[in-house]
Subunit: 166 residues, 2 copies
């Protein structure tokens, strides 16, 4: 995208160059993430879902009814994000929320009939998304592996930074 080339053997990049925007992987990642959001917004409009709502539905379709806590573990989201989101899904008639009888602290999220039925219409989504990327299945899989590796490293680093590194 920029005119410069960065030969693989360059290890002496000046400090100031690190600040160059086009060197910032985070920027690329952020841009890609938002570009994905744009494609999803268009494709999911039919289903009446936002992208985070779609992710919640994916988890429910795959794992069945779950308490909010488990849902959050699958998605790396806390109740601060999930509570209002689930209320909106409930308002749309896709899920019900019921306090567990065994443990009244816990709230079970159940798919309604409409919520379960929506899965059929959602089946086409991933293929359209995959097509939009222009990547084949191997490339997707390889990129995914890389990103998961990155996430693991970053989470570990965040914990290390938080507990008092330089």
């Amino acid at each position: 995208m920029a005119g410069k080339s960065y030969p693989g053997t360059m290890t002496t990049t000046p400090t100031a160059d690190w600040l160059r925007l086009d060197q910032q992987i985070c920027f690329s990642l952020n841009a890609a993430s938002r570009a994905f959001g744009g494609v999803y917004r268009v494709i999911l409009k039919d289903l009446g879902l936002t992208y985070p709502q779609y992710l919640v539905m994916l988890v429910l379709w795959e794992h069945g009814d779950l308490p909010v806590k488990k849902l959050g573990e699958h998605l790396r989201l806390d109740s601060g994000t999930l509570s209002p989101l689930l209320k909106r899904l409930e308002g749309a008639g896709l899920v019900r929320r019921e306090r567990s009888t065994h443990d009244e602290r816990s709230v079970e999220v159940h798919l309604t009939e409409d919520g379960a039925a929506l899965r059929e219409r959602a089946l086409q989504v991933p293929r359209r998304i995959a097509a939009a990327t222009g990547f084949d299945i191997d490339e997707i899989h390889e990129l995914r592996t890389r990103l998961d590796q990155l996430t693991t490293a970053l989470d570990a680093a965040a914990r290390a930074e938080a507990s008092g590194a330089s």
Copy 2:
């Protein structure tokens, strides 16, 4: 991360499997993006910046004073996002906003002395981020290339979808 393997030659993945969360590259991308956010949050706290504010400062440090429009082009952000963000940066004394004398529609964003000085302290940030990823410079560069490729494809697809494809 899951127990299944996806050999490269498999082109007959059942439709339902596409819905599997761990197949969703978007989820990995989103997770990585948020994991980055977590690391940046910690590292940028010293500088008193959020991550998007840091990106704005990066652009200003690299390109000098710019109108809001140009800033938005560099960052793929519109005035709806930038206007309040720039007000906060102005409140923090890092930038000034002044209507252009040539074109009164335009607002020029200028670095203040404090804003320019902050660059020195920011120089350490990218190295710490790079270290947190656990990737070497070649891996970072390769991933970046991939992601930019992805973003380009997705933007094109979003435009195509928006103008009436299936």
